[in-house]
């Protein structure tokens, strides 16, 4: 059971609060940040942590808690903001993002940050580990579900497809793979750098149950996550998102993969993120 179980309206409000935190967190970073990637996954993580996941600070050591793996580790800034909003870490830590030896390094480190399940940052690592956790849960007769968010550029890593074969072979329908498909990666458009489309057909060919949704629409994200029915196949959600979603001058621009708001940009962004 999720301790918040927020309505869609309240989730949307929470997502705006998280976006405001993302802007300030990145603006405060002495070492840059992945603002665009942080923003594209806000609806996904907000829906997971405030409605879907059976996970909370009180359950942090429970064998039955759902597991969330942030495979696209570079979007850790957004992840930290969600963990702070959900009470896993103090809000005051957010101003220390990427400061020397702080609790919030530039990629997830579980020994530093309560709530982080797996150290990631090198890409293509989350899914094989998630497969192992899901397999252990099946063997243990646990109802645990394992959610892993990958980028779309990240899917060029072959380890994802190795792990996909294993997930389908062992019928891991307690595994939910969410692709934050924002179509942009470090050096430009995913389609131009290494095309992964048609992504749904690839996953289906690997034996997955595939659902697509608009990944920055809270209503669609929630209904997709709640519409999953275990049927012996691992579940894939292709969340079509916009990198930098929610802020007019950041969204859809590759240069915001590794860039942070500066000067007037901070106020302009916060203005756009005001509650109605």
């Amino acid at each position: 059971m999720n301790p918040f179980s927020l309505s869609v309206t309240d989730l949307e409000k929470r997502a705006r609060a998280i976006r405001r935190r993302i802007i300030l967190l990145n603006a405060n970073s002495p070492a840059g940040g992945h603002t665009g990637a942080d923003l594209s996954q806000v609806e996904l993580l907000t829906a997971l942590y405030f409605r879907v996941l059976n996970c909370s600070p009180a359950l942090i050591n429970s064998d039955e808690r759902d597991i969330y793996i942030q495979s696209k580790g570079h979007a850790v800034g957004g992840y930290y903001c969600v963990l702070a909003e959900a009470g896993f870490i103090p809000e005051s830590w957010l101003s220390t993002y990427q400061h020397a030896d702080s609790h919030l390094p530039g990629h997830p480190v579980k020994h530093k940050t309560p709530g982080v399940e797996l150290n990631t940052g090198a890409l293509g690592h989350g899914l094989p580990v998630a497969v192992g956790i899901a397999l252990a849960a099946k063997r243990n007769g646990s109802n645990r579900r394992v959610f892993v968010v990958t980028g779309d550029g990240e899917l060029a890593e072959g380890s994802n497809w190795e792990a996909a074969l294993v997930a389908a072979h062992y019928q891991l329908d307690n595994l939910i793979i969410i692709n934050d498909k924002n179509n942009l990666q470090l050096a430009g458009a995913t389609k131009e750098i290494l095309n992964t489309d048609p992504l749904d057909e690839k996953w289906r060919a690997f034996g997955m149950e595939v659902t697509q949704c608009s990944g920055n629409s809270m209503q669609e994200v929630v209904s997709t996550l709640e519409g999953l029915t275990p049927n012996g196949k691992p579940q894939v959600i292709i969340a079509n998102t916009t990198k930098g979603a929610g802020i007019s001058f950041i969204q859809g621009r590759a240069e915001w993969h590794h860039r942070v708001p500066k000067g007037d940009e901070v106020e302009l962004a916060l203005e756009e993120l005001k509650d109605e």
Binding site: D63, P128, G132, R139, N140, A163
Partner: protein
């Protein structure tokens, strides 16, 4: 000393005994059931082993996930593919995450002989010594191997165990007790200290006996515990001899030869040292074990030759 036994068989027996005493152990293989000689385990515990196919990255990643789900996950496949193909999974998923996973490097060194360099792992110790927190063991005989495995299954944290691909004879009797970090001095001798890890310990044992006939008194030191390693004890053992010769089926860079060199140099100890192994800049030749070791001077004859030259020069 008693009969020889293949260390993979020792490993599988240790797994079977562990499950029988209630350890929730899950072997993970990458189509390496025959490499691991694990069919007795599968027969006894059907449905327990996980086979991920020929996919070493997922072998290691899945083992880490299983450990996060409460299992004692042990990977069993050929050392060269484990170390090289899954290098980043070992670094990140196992070591950096400090996962409770035990990695077994089977048919290590140049055990695969004529199958050539793709199948040799002459860099595994060097690679893993570069990763901060993984314990590293290279057993040289069945009884030691069994006790290392039993220790590893109890220990919480990453462990690598380098297993040779041939049956190895016993070096100890039933009274032997493995202690992590301990240096195993099998023979005392003041002229030269012969130091080896894993299967090449048998070469230095044979060499020492022949050297004694030629009037050279050689110490025989087995370093089965590469990390942790009681370097003070190692230094004390080395200082009893006038010269040191290290012998390993591994590149001379980063293995037991390097460990000995570091210990001597950091102590300001000017004992003459020769590191024998796969020489800097080269690979192990593709040949059967006997010819390969002879070529690289790491068989008993090569050890004797190098030891005599060192003692003459000392």
């Amino acid at each position: 000393m008693s009969n020889s036994e293949h260390l993979a068989t020792v490993m599988v027996n240790a797994f079977i005994d562990a499950v029988e005493r209630g350890v929730d152990l899950v072997p993970v293989v990458a189509d390496s059931t025959s490499t691991a000689k694990i069919s007795p385990f599968i027969k006894q515990f059907p449905g327990r082993l996980v086979n991920v196919g020929i996919a070493e990255q997922t072998l290691v990643g899945t083992a880490v996930g299983l450990s996060m789900g409460g299992k004692i996950a042990v990977t069993c496949n050929a050392a060269p593919f484990l170390i090289s193909r899954a290098n980043e999974q070992i670094k990140v998923d196992v070591c950096y995450n400090n996962s409770n996973v035990k990695l077994f490097g089977l048919n290590s060194g140049a055990s695969y002989g004529p199958l050539a360099s793709t199948h040799h792992s002459i860099d595994d110790i060097a690679v893993l010594r570069g990763f901060g927190n993984i314990e590293i063991f290279a057993p040289s005989c069945p009884i030691e191997c069994r006790q290392i495995i039993d220790y590893a299954l109890e220990h919480i944290g990453p462990v690598y165990i380098r297993l040779d691909g041939k049956a190895l004879p016993e070096l100890h009797d039933a009274s032997y007790r493995f202690v992590p970090g301990a240096i195993d001095v099998l023979r005392e001798g003041e002229d030269i200290a012969l130091v080896a890890m894993g299967s090449t310990v048998h070469e230095i044992v044979s060499a020492a006996a022949e050297l004694a006939d030629q009037g050279i008194n050689a110490a025989v030191i087995s370093v089965s515990s590469v990390r942790p390693c009681d370097t003070a004890k190692l230094l004390a053992a080395l200082k009893k001899s006038r010269t040191v010769l290290t012998v390993e089926e591994h590149n001379v860079n980063g293995g037991v030869g390097s460990l000995v060199a570091e210990v001597l140099a950091e102590a300001g100890c000017a004992i003459t040292l020769l590191r024998s192994g796969i020489a800097d800049g080269s690979y192990a030749i593709a040949a059967d074990r006997k010819d390969m070791r002879a070529h690289h001077g790491i068989d008993a004859a090569g050890v004797i030759r190098n030891a005599i030259a060192l003692c003459k020069g000392a």
